[in-house]
Symmetry: C6
Subunit: 206 residues, 6 copies
Amino acid sequence: GPVFDKETYDNNDLAGVVTGLAWTSVGGEILFIETNLSRGKGKLTLSGQLGDVMKESAVAALSYLKSEAHKYDIDYRVFDKYDLHIHVPAGAVPKDGPSAGITMLTAITSIFTQRKVKNKLAMTGEITLRGRVLPVGGIKEKILAARRAGIKELILSKKNEKDILEIDERYTKGLNVHYVETAEEVLELALMKQKVANAIDLVVED
Amino acid sequence: GPVFDKETYDNNDLAGVVTGLAWTSVGGEILFIETNLSRGKGKLTLSGQLGDVMKESAVAALSYLKSEAHKYDIDYRVFDKYDLHIHVPAGAVPKDGPSAGITMLTAITSIFTQRKVKNKLAMTGEITLRGRVLPVGGIKEKILAARRAGIKELILSKKNEKDILEIDERYTKGLNVHYVETAEEVLELALMKQKVANAIDLVVED
Amino acid sequence: GPVFDKETYDNNDLAGVVTGLAWTSVGGEILFIETNLSRGKGKLTLSGQLGDVMKESAVAALSYLKSEAHKYDIDYRVFDKYDLHIHVPAGAVPKDGPSAGITMLTAITSIFTQRKVKNKLAMTGEITLRGRVLPVGGIKEKILAARRAGIKELILSKKNEKDILEIDERYTKGLNVHYVETAEEVLELALMKQKVANAIDLVVED
Amino acid sequence: GPVFDKETYDNNDLAGVVTGLAWTSVGGEILFIETNLSRGKGKLTLSGQLGDVMKESAVAALSYLKSEAHKYDIDYRVFDKYDLHIHVPAGAVPKDGPSAGITMLTAITSIFTQRKVKNKLAMTGEITLRGRVLPVGGIKEKILAARRAGIKELILSKKNEKDILEIDERYTKGLNVHYVETAEEVLELALMKQKVANAIDLVVED
Amino acid sequence: GPVFDKETYDNNDLAGVVTGLAWTSVGGEILFIETNLSRGKGKLTLSGQLGDVMKESAVAALSYLKSEAHKYDIDYRVFDKYDLHIHVPAGAVPKDGPSAGITMLTAITSIFTQRKVKNKLAMTGEITLRGRVLPVGGIKEKILAARRAGIKELILSKKNEKDILEIDERYTKGLNVHYVETAEEVLELALMKQKVANAIDLVVED
Amino acid sequence: GPVFDKETYDNNDLAGVVTGLAWTSVGGEILFIETNLSRGKGKLTLSGQLGDVMKESAVAALSYLKSEAHKYDIDYRVFDKYDLHIHVPAGAVPKDGPSAGITMLTAITSIFTQRKVKNKLAMTGEITLRGRVLPVGGIKEKILAARRAGIKELILSKKNEKDILEIDERYTKGLNVHYVETAEEVLELALMKQKVANAIDLVVED
Ligand SMILES: [Ca+2]
Ligand SMILES: [Ca+2]
Ligand SMILES: [Ca+2]
Ligand SMILES: [Ca+2]
Ligand SMILES: [Ca+2]
Ligand SMILES: [Ca+2]
Ligand SMILES: [Ca+2]
Ligand SMILES: [Ca+2]
Ligand SMILES: [Ca+2]
Ligand SMILES: [Ca+2]
Ligand SMILES: [Ca+2]
Ligand SMILES: [Ca+2]
């Protein structure tokens, strides 16, 4: 059975943790993208047995955020003053594919802005470098996993809308699904204006 | 079916995004070269599951632009002050070969000059370090993909002219095909004088 | 037979040495996580024929500690002024998996705080980047190894409680088992307030 | 058929482009060594799907030039102030072997001195670190390719003279073949005193 | 036959050379660990076709010494001002395993303190990061090799004492065997107080 | 047949070029070790398709010279101010093994001291980090190659003396063979006091 279950993160007290949806050989599963920052020199660390496509996804998400930093009130200099770590538990399970792209982007943006992530929300979708959200596979299995985990709200690529329409309504009932085309829409939906309690103050010395 | 379709980028509001043409086992397809810049130290990041030939293509295109920076009013010092990321969605599909060379060059030049890329334009061709445009394969399949995607204008190597002449005129009708020998001609054709709205001002501190 | 036995570290005079539990093809075994610090530039060295999952575990544990340094009265600048080495004897035996995560975290925290580790204590559990403690396998075999080694106290993930309940009480008798959900709880249980004799004074020059 | 043909570079307007001769499974072919410089820190980039022997050839040629810089009026500090890129089109064709050594040396020297390369000249030969020119194979096939490409002058190792003598005179008629023993002789023969039009002025700030 | 024999180092005039014992498919053999220092930046070089376990051994030994530098009157800053090279001749013979650990530690400590190594002494044993000496295999074969090489004194892990007791007394007669538990004991036994003639004075500029 | 022959370097005008002897599947052959220096930061480049044993040999030889620099009147700071390149033509032939060790040491010492190498001299032998000269194989085949190449003087390890004694005297007649135990003896025999004409003056700025 899955290592993660709905109570692993039953609140959104922590910045930088976002729920994604994975599609594995044994069905859909939720996964968590965890990020943290520590004072450093801008190093990016990726862990959790990530395949190269998933790693490129993370790098593209970070690139996107860096180039759009001003939109999210992030001083571009913090990227060089902190080390960013992105981890996907469970650490022994190999993971790959581009579908965690928007989840990673949301986690990174949350940790750099210290903004809360909306509760009971999950998402799946590829992100491009310029902020396009591309469709991904396994939508049906992911929907089932989302419901089992108590997810109430879902973000998908607009191009996955057709996949949802093909699923029996019983499965999507009670799920609020948002279809998006851009990274901006994802972050608008997923991040709250409010910062986490004990938000860290990202310092840039001159 | 293809992840990309003509409406993914139905405008040219963004600098650094250029449409190329790929030739795959299932026919021709359009692809997008996306680039972005963030403050940094001149690092080049390549993503999108690119093979080594395609990576070398990107490196050669960047080298060419660096050595000809003055022609395009680029202060050579910006190359060291910004990190450049080149990404080719969809991130899970392996891509290789030299035929995206001129597309990459155009995308890089657009992002560094912030000049708009001409709309409904696609291109395919190998670029050499000194700016020669070499012919590539799969022209017929690429033509078909270009038309399906609503492309109106095409840039090819002069040495691919013979391949176009062998194609039934029905397929090329309405397509304005430019044959070029040099990178200069490509950029002259593809880049508009006008900058994108909200063009970023590439800063070089002394 | 095992290289290690209970008398290898029969005291807790040294900071940075913590007892873990491994599950191998020939049953459970205790293992030691050893750490040390030397003046340097923040380099991390891992040795003891560690597999990539175990290495990622160590990196995540260190990341967690770095981002929570203030909680443990660690000046964040020491991470850049000392090199950290994590070693798992015996050096010729390949080791892998995420289950040494909390053991590594405890060893690292002990070496950076110079606080003593509680005596006759062992632990096993995966750590996530944000300090969640995840369940691991082989609990029964590990319990047997712990008893053979004279362990009196054990730290496990709350999600491993069910595995303990399935074991014949004879085997757990006399073992004080703590079930935890977070890294904070692990460190609260495992580290003493008292520093080791001859504690080194981690220096940060201005 | 070959991608390159005689009209690809039908003039010698560009510094740093030199014609070599390759020997492939389908016969002899001409190839071009292209180089360029951009402001940087002395990085060397090699591209064009070069095998490790060919890469070592390039590195040895550059080493030779660096240690003999004074002979060619090159300020040794420029090697650290510019990045050098060596590319061999066509970018998708794997290339290997030491026989492009003297061609690479000539191209590098031309780009660093901005001196013109003699027109309708080709060459083939291994270069050693101390400037010896060693013989290479496939001389007959290379001669045929040179003639097809309109080459009028050829540089070979003195130790390849015997290979030329074995070839029917019909094939070498009209070809002016120079036999050399040292790198100095190669550069004396291949580089003109005249600089290219618009020669770049390699700047070394103090 | 073996390349090394007893007269290779028939004196102890050099700091940083220590005799170890290896166990190969053809029996036991003596080996030499050679170290030297040159002005540099703290780089560690390992050579002699060492396997990864043996390399980790060397790294752990160096880590141990760095963290205990004060005990041996070594100014910690010398580790950053000198490059250390550890070599195990004969250079073409692959070597691996953890049993040279204490030999490497002794050699490194000797070179950094310039203290003489006791004559006609050999040793074998794994070292842990915190200075524990672990038992190793092949004791009987190593004893035979030691005697053939004229060794008079031997250092072993206390946990190898049982292996010696199982060997016919004829083989150990005249050999003074020391059983140790810690690195400190090894260095106490192996290093003389006296420095080598022409001891180099390790300089640290301020 | 061999690429090299006796007339490749028929004089000793160049510092840093030394003749070695290799043993290949087709018999013995002479080889040349070429070195050069260029202003830089102490980088070491090895080329000529060298195997890892041969590379380690070069690194050990350089380490030895660095640690004994004072003996040869080399300012230790030059090692950081110049880049050293070691090349073994012919560049396409794979080479390996430790037997070029003393040849490499001689070449490196010659280039750093600018002292001439004795004419018509060849050598073969492994070097250890502390300057011991170890025996190597293929002595008979190497002797034959040396004579064919006009070599008059030979340096071998003392432990190879027995191999010479087993060879028919006809083959060694007229060859002056020196048997050595240390690197010092090699350099004493091989390097002349006299510097090469146009010796470069290795500069160390303060
Ligand atoms: Ca549950
Ligand atoms: Ca992959
Ligand atoms: Ca569509
Ligand atoms: Ca490839
Ligand atoms: Ca025991
Ligand atoms: Ca693995
Ligand atoms: Ca043609
Ligand atoms: Ca190769
Ligand atoms: Ca002997
Ligand atoms: Ca191994
Ligand atoms: Ca000859
Ligand atoms: Ca090898």
